[in-house]
Symmetry: C2
Protein backbone atom coordinates (compact mmCIF):
# COMPACT_ATOMS: atom_id res chain seq x y z
CA UNK A 1 0.00 0.00 0.00
CA UNK A 2 2.76 2.43 0.93
CA UNK A 3 6.43 2.56 0.09
CA UNK A 4 6.98 1.68 3.77
CA UNK A 5 10.26 3.60 3.76
CA UNK A 6 11.67 4.05 0.33
CA UNK A 7 14.70 6.02 1.46
CA UNK A 8 16.39 3.16 3.27
CA UNK A 9 15.88 0.63 0.46
CA UNK A 10 18.22 2.09 -2.10
CA UNK A 11 21.42 0.45 -1.09
CA UNK A 12 22.43 -3.02 -2.24
CA UNK A 13 21.15 -5.71 -4.62
CA UNK A 14 17.95 -7.40 -3.46
CA UNK A 15 17.33 -4.89 -0.71
CA UNK A 16 16.56 -2.11 -3.13
CA UNK A 17 13.68 -4.15 -4.44
CA UNK A 18 11.86 -4.98 -1.25
CA UNK A 19 9.97 -1.73 -0.68
CA UNK A 20 8.70 -1.78 -4.24
CA UNK A 21 7.74 -5.42 -3.96
CA UNK A 22 5.66 -4.79 -0.83
CA UNK A 23 3.94 -1.69 -2.17
CA UNK A 24 2.96 -3.76 -5.21
CA UNK A 25 1.74 -6.99 -3.64
CA UNK A 26 -0.30 -5.36 -0.85
CA UNK A 27 -2.72 -3.73 -3.31
CA UNK A 28 -2.83 -6.95 -5.32
CA UNK A 29 -3.84 -8.87 -2.20
CA UNK A 30 -6.52 -6.24 -1.55
CA UNK A 31 -7.90 -6.67 -5.06
CA UNK A 32 -7.79 -10.43 -4.66
CA UNK A 33 -9.72 -10.37 -1.38
CA UNK A 34 -12.31 -8.10 -2.94
CA UNK A 35 -12.74 -10.56 -5.77
CA UNK A 36 -13.28 -13.48 -3.41
CA UNK A 37 -15.77 -11.57 -1.29
CA UNK A 38 -17.81 -10.08 -4.07
CA UNK A 39 -20.57 -12.60 -4.52
CA UNK A 40 -22.21 -13.30 -1.22
CA UNK A 41 -23.38 -15.61 0.17
CA UNK A 42 -21.02 -17.96 -1.66
CA UNK A 43 -17.96 -15.87 -0.83
CA UNK A 44 -14.66 -17.19 0.47
CA UNK A 45 -11.82 -15.80 2.53
CA UNK A 46 -8.32 -15.98 1.18
CA UNK A 47 -7.32 -19.01 3.34
CA UNK A 48 -10.52 -20.81 2.36
CA UNK A 49 -9.85 -20.03 -1.30
CA UNK A 50 -6.33 -21.39 -1.05
CA UNK A 51 -7.48 -24.47 0.84
CA UNK A 52 -10.18 -25.30 -1.67
CA UNK A 53 -7.90 -24.59 -4.59
CA UNK A 54 -5.44 -27.06 -3.15
CA UNK A 55 -8.12 -29.69 -2.52
CA UNK A 56 -9.31 -29.20 -6.08
CA UNK A 57 -6.00 -30.66 -7.27
CA UNK A 58 -5.16 -32.92 -4.30
CA UNK A 59 -8.31 -34.84 -3.49
CA UNK A 60 -7.90 -37.23 -0.59
CA UNK A 61 -5.05 -35.47 1.17
CA UNK A 62 -4.91 -35.70 4.97
CA UNK A 63 -5.09 -32.86 7.46
CA UNK A 64 -1.43 -33.18 8.32
CA UNK A 65 -0.56 -33.17 4.63
CA UNK A 66 -2.41 -29.90 4.25
CA UNK A 67 -0.82 -28.45 7.38
CA UNK A 68 2.64 -29.22 6.02
CA UNK A 69 1.79 -27.89 2.57
CA UNK A 70 0.53 -24.60 3.99
CA UNK A 71 3.05 -24.24 6.79
CA UNK A 72 0.28 -24.18 9.42
CA UNK A 73 -0.36 -26.18 12.56
CA UNK A 74 -2.74 -29.13 12.72
CA UNK A 75 -5.30 -27.39 14.97
CA UNK A 76 -5.38 -24.47 12.54
CA UNK A 77 -6.21 -26.54 9.50
CA UNK A 78 -8.55 -28.76 11.53
CA UNK A 79 -10.56 -25.74 12.58
CA UNK A 80 -10.52 -24.16 9.16
CA UNK A 81 -11.78 -27.43 7.67
CA UNK A 82 -14.49 -27.46 10.37
CA UNK A 83 -15.84 -24.25 8.91
CA UNK A 84 -15.77 -25.58 5.36
CA UNK A 85 -17.46 -28.83 6.46
CA UNK A 86 -20.13 -26.83 8.31
CA UNK A 87 -20.81 -24.94 5.08
CA UNK A 88 -20.95 -28.29 3.24
CA UNK A 89 -18.06 -27.31 0.98
CA UNK A 90 -15.65 -30.04 2.08
CA UNK A 91 -16.02 -33.69 3.16
CA UNK A 92 -14.02 -35.20 6.02
CA UNK A 93 -13.75 -38.97 5.57
CA UNK A 94 -12.09 -41.73 7.52
CA UNK A 95 -9.20 -43.56 5.91
CA UNK A 96 -9.87 -47.28 6.46
CA UNK A 97 -6.16 -48.16 6.01
CA UNK A 98 -5.15 -45.97 8.95
CA UNK A 99 -8.05 -44.91 11.07
CA UNK A 100 -6.12 -42.06 12.65
CA UNK A 101 -6.03 -40.37 9.29
CA UNK A 102 -8.67 -38.13 7.75
CA UNK A 103 -9.03 -37.68 4.02
CA UNK A 104 -10.45 -34.50 2.57
CA UNK A 105 -12.22 -33.61 -0.63
CA UNK A 106 -14.54 -30.98 -2.03
CA UNK A 107 -18.27 -31.63 -2.18
CA UNK A 108 -20.07 -30.88 -5.42
CA UNK A 109 -21.30 -27.68 -3.81
CA UNK A 110 -17.74 -26.94 -2.72
CA UNK A 111 -16.43 -27.36 -6.22
CA UNK A 112 -19.05 -25.10 -7.69
CA UNK A 113 -18.58 -22.43 -5.01
CA UNK A 114 -14.84 -22.52 -5.55
CA UNK A 115 -15.17 -22.33 -9.31
CA UNK A 116 -17.52 -19.37 -8.96
CA UNK A 117 -15.12 -17.57 -6.61
CA UNK A 118 -12.26 -18.31 -8.95
CA UNK A 119 -14.16 -17.07 -11.98
CA UNK A 120 -15.00 -13.91 -10.10
CA UNK A 121 -11.48 -13.38 -8.85
CA UNK A 122 -10.04 -14.07 -12.28
CA UNK A 123 -12.51 -11.76 -13.95
CA UNK A 124 -11.71 -8.91 -11.57
CA UNK A 125 -7.95 -9.28 -11.82
CA UNK A 126 -8.06 -10.04 -15.53
CA UNK A 127 -10.06 -6.89 -16.15
CA UNK A 128 -7.40 -4.85 -14.39
CA UNK A 129 -4.57 -6.62 -16.19
CA UNK A 130 -6.44 -6.30 -19.47
CA UNK A 131 -5.67 -2.58 -19.52
CA UNK A 132 -2.03 -3.42 -20.23
CA UNK A 133 -0.48 -3.94 -23.63
CA UNK A 134 0.37 -7.47 -24.81
CA UNK A 135 4.05 -6.63 -24.42
CA UNK A 136 3.55 -5.54 -20.85
CA UNK A 137 1.60 -8.69 -20.04
CA UNK A 138 4.30 -10.84 -21.62
CA UNK A 139 6.86 -9.06 -19.49
CA UNK A 140 4.80 -9.77 -16.36
CA UNK A 141 4.57 -13.46 -17.27
CA UNK A 142 8.33 -13.72 -17.63
CA UNK A 143 8.95 -11.85 -14.41
CA UNK A 144 6.48 -13.95 -12.43
CA UNK A 145 8.38 -17.04 -13.53
CA UNK A 146 11.58 -15.55 -12.19
CA UNK A 147 9.93 -14.64 -8.90
CA UNK A 148 8.49 -18.13 -8.51
CA UNK A 149 11.99 -19.54 -8.90
CA UNK A 150 12.88 -17.51 -5.82
CA UNK A 151 9.79 -17.83 -3.64
CA UNK A 152 8.17 -21.12 -4.73
CA UNK A 153 11.06 -23.08 -6.23
CA UNK A 154 9.40 -26.50 -5.92
CA UNK A 155 6.07 -25.46 -7.42
CA UNK A 156 6.71 -24.60 -11.03
CA UNK A 157 3.70 -24.49 -13.28
CA UNK A 158 4.20 -27.08 -16.00
Amino acid sequence: MQPLDTQSNQANGGNELVGELLSTIFPIMDALRNGMRSQRPADLTEPQFRTMGFLCHNEGISLSGMAEEFGLTLPTVSKMVDGLVKRELVLREENPRDRRRVTLRLTEKGRSVFEAAKRNTNARLAEMLGTLTPDERAMIVSTLQIMRRVFAPEKEIG
Copy 2:
Protein backbone atom coordinates in the same frame (compact mmCIF):
# COMPACT_ATOMS: atom_id res chain seq x y z
CA MET B 1 0.86 -21.64 -3.40
CA GLN B 2 -0.73 -23.71 -6.12
CA PRO B 3 -1.55 -22.97 -9.73
CA LEU B 4 -5.19 -23.05 -8.62
CA ASP B 5 -6.30 -24.31 -12.02
CA THR B 6 -3.86 -23.48 -14.71
CA GLN B 7 -5.81 -25.20 -17.44
CA SER B 8 -8.69 -22.74 -17.47
CA ASN B 9 -6.51 -19.63 -17.53
CA GLN B 10 -5.10 -19.90 -21.00
CA ALA B 11 -7.73 -18.07 -22.96
CA ASN B 12 -7.76 -14.31 -23.33
CA GLY B 13 -5.52 -11.36 -22.43
CA GLY B 14 -5.39 -10.64 -18.72
CA ASN B 15 -7.09 -13.87 -17.76
CA GLU B 16 -4.15 -15.99 -18.77
CA LEU B 17 -2.04 -14.19 -16.23
CA VAL B 18 -4.16 -14.55 -13.14
CA GLY B 19 -3.26 -18.10 -12.15
CA GLU B 20 0.42 -17.33 -12.43
CA LEU B 21 -0.01 -14.11 -10.49
CA LEU B 22 -1.72 -15.91 -7.60
CA SER B 23 0.74 -18.77 -7.45
CA THR B 24 3.49 -16.16 -7.24
CA ILE B 25 2.13 -13.72 -4.69
CA PHE B 26 0.88 -16.34 -2.21
CA PRO B 27 4.40 -17.65 -1.51
CA ILE B 28 5.67 -14.08 -1.36
CA MET B 29 3.07 -13.27 1.28
CA ASP B 30 4.15 -16.39 3.19
CA ALA B 31 7.78 -15.28 3.13
CA LEU B 32 6.76 -11.79 4.18
CA ARG B 33 4.77 -13.05 7.17
CA ASN B 34 7.67 -15.23 8.21
CA GLY B 35 9.94 -12.21 8.13
CA MET B 36 7.62 -10.16 10.30
CA ARG B 37 7.19 -12.94 12.83
CA SER B 38 10.79 -13.98 13.14
CA GLN B 39 12.00 -11.95 16.06
CA ARG B 40 9.73 -12.43 19.00
CA PRO B 41 8.60 -10.78 21.19
CA ALA B 42 8.78 -7.69 19.00
CA ASP B 43 7.03 -9.36 16.07
CA LEU B 44 4.19 -7.91 14.07
CA THR B 45 1.35 -9.30 12.01
CA GLU B 46 0.91 -8.17 8.44
CA PRO B 47 -1.93 -5.72 9.23
CA GLN B 48 0.07 -4.28 12.14
CA PHE B 49 3.10 -3.94 9.91
CA ARG B 50 1.10 -2.12 7.26
CA THR B 51 -0.57 0.12 9.83
CA MET B 52 2.71 1.11 11.45
CA GLY B 53 4.39 1.62 8.10
CA PHE B 54 1.61 3.97 7.16
CA LEU B 55 1.82 5.87 10.48
CA CYS B 56 5.57 6.14 10.00
CA HIS B 57 4.91 8.40 7.02
CA ASN B 58 1.55 9.89 8.04
CA GLU B 59 1.92 10.96 11.64
CA GLY B 60 -1.20 12.54 13.08
CA ILE B 61 -3.74 10.88 10.78
CA SER B 62 -7.20 10.13 12.20
CA LEU B 63 -8.87 6.75 12.56
CA SER B 64 -11.29 7.48 9.75
CA GLY B 65 -8.39 8.58 7.57
CA MET B 66 -6.71 5.25 8.18
CA ALA B 67 -9.94 3.34 7.60
CA GLU B 68 -10.40 5.01 4.23
CA GLU B 69 -6.76 4.53 3.28
CA PHE B 70 -6.90 0.81 4.06
CA GLY B 71 -10.42 0.17 2.83
CA LEU B 72 -11.51 -1.08 6.28
CA THR B 73 -14.35 -0.11 8.59
CA LEU B 74 -13.92 2.22 11.56
CA PRO B 75 -14.52 -0.46 14.22
CA THR B 76 -11.86 -2.60 12.56
CA VAL B 77 -9.13 0.02 12.67
CA SER B 78 -10.24 1.18 16.09
CA LYS B 79 -9.80 -2.30 17.48
CA MET B 80 -6.53 -2.89 15.68
CA VAL B 81 -5.18 0.38 17.06
CA ASP B 82 -6.37 -0.77 20.53
CA GLY B 83 -3.95 -3.65 20.28
CA LEU B 84 -1.07 -1.44 19.19
CA VAL B 85 -1.83 1.05 21.98
CA LYS B 86 -1.93 -1.79 24.51
CA ARG B 87 1.53 -2.83 23.34
CA GLU B 88 2.65 0.81 23.65
CA LEU B 89 3.53 0.97 19.96
CA VAL B 90 1.04 3.69 19.00
CA LEU B 91 -0.34 6.80 20.73
CA ARG B 92 -3.99 7.82 20.50
CA GLU B 93 -4.32 11.56 21.10
CA GLU B 94 -7.26 13.96 21.13
CA ASN B 95 -7.39 16.61 18.43
CA PRO B 96 -8.19 19.90 20.23
CA ARG B 97 -9.54 21.47 17.03
CA ASP B 98 -12.21 18.79 16.66
CA ARG B 99 -12.68 16.75 19.75
CA ARG B 100 -14.46 13.94 17.91
CA ARG B 101 -11.24 13.25 16.09
CA VAL B 102 -8.39 11.06 17.24
CA THR B 103 -4.85 11.56 15.98
CA LEU B 104 -2.43 8.67 15.80
CA ARG B 105 1.33 8.39 15.89
CA LEU B 106 4.03 5.86 16.66
CA THR B 107 5.68 5.87 20.06
CA GLU B 108 9.46 5.71 20.19
CA LYS B 109 9.13 2.05 21.03
CA GLY B 110 6.71 1.67 18.13
CA ARG B 111 9.15 3.22 15.72
CA SER B 112 12.00 1.02 16.84
CA VAL B 113 9.88 -2.15 16.77
CA PHE B 114 8.67 -1.28 13.28
CA GLU B 115 12.17 -0.51 12.05
CA ALA B 116 13.41 -3.82 13.45
CA ALA B 117 10.58 -5.75 11.79
CA LYS B 118 11.23 -3.93 8.54
CA ARG B 119 14.96 -4.62 8.69
CA ASN B 120 14.20 -8.26 9.31
CA THR B 121 11.62 -8.51 6.56
CA ASN B 122 13.85 -6.68 4.13
CA ALA B 123 16.81 -8.85 4.99
CA ARG B 124 14.85 -12.04 4.49
CA LEU B 125 13.31 -11.00 1.20
CA ALA B 126 16.48 -9.30 0.01
CA GLU B 127 18.45 -12.45 0.66
CA MET B 128 16.06 -14.41 -1.51
CA LEU B 129 16.06 -11.77 -4.26
CA GLY B 130 19.81 -11.51 -3.97
CA THR B 131 20.15 -14.90 -5.66
CA LEU B 132 19.00 -13.31 -8.93
CA THR B 133 21.21 -11.64 -11.49
CA PRO B 134 21.26 -7.83 -11.76
CA ASP B 135 19.40 -8.11 -15.06
CA GLU B 136 16.66 -10.19 -13.49
CA ARG B 137 16.32 -7.73 -10.63
CA ALA B 138 16.12 -4.83 -13.06
CA MET B 139 13.40 -6.64 -14.93
CA ILE B 140 11.48 -7.16 -11.69
CA VAL B 141 11.76 -3.47 -10.86
CA SER B 142 10.33 -2.48 -14.24
CA THR B 143 7.54 -5.02 -14.00
CA LEU B 144 6.57 -3.97 -10.48
CA GLN B 145 6.17 -0.42 -11.76
CA ILE B 146 3.79 -1.67 -14.44
CA MET B 147 1.81 -3.69 -11.92
CA ARG B 148 1.53 -0.71 -9.57
CA ARG B 149 0.06 1.31 -12.42
CA VAL B 150 -2.70 -1.29 -12.51
CA PHE B 151 -3.28 -2.09 -8.85
CA ALA B 152 -2.14 1.04 -6.98
CA PRO B 153 -2.43 3.79 -9.59
CA GLU B 154 -2.56 6.66 -7.09
CA LYS B 155 0.42 5.51 -5.05
CA GLU B 156 3.45 5.74 -7.28
CA ILE B 157 6.78 5.75 -5.56
CA GLY B 158 8.46 9.06 -6.40
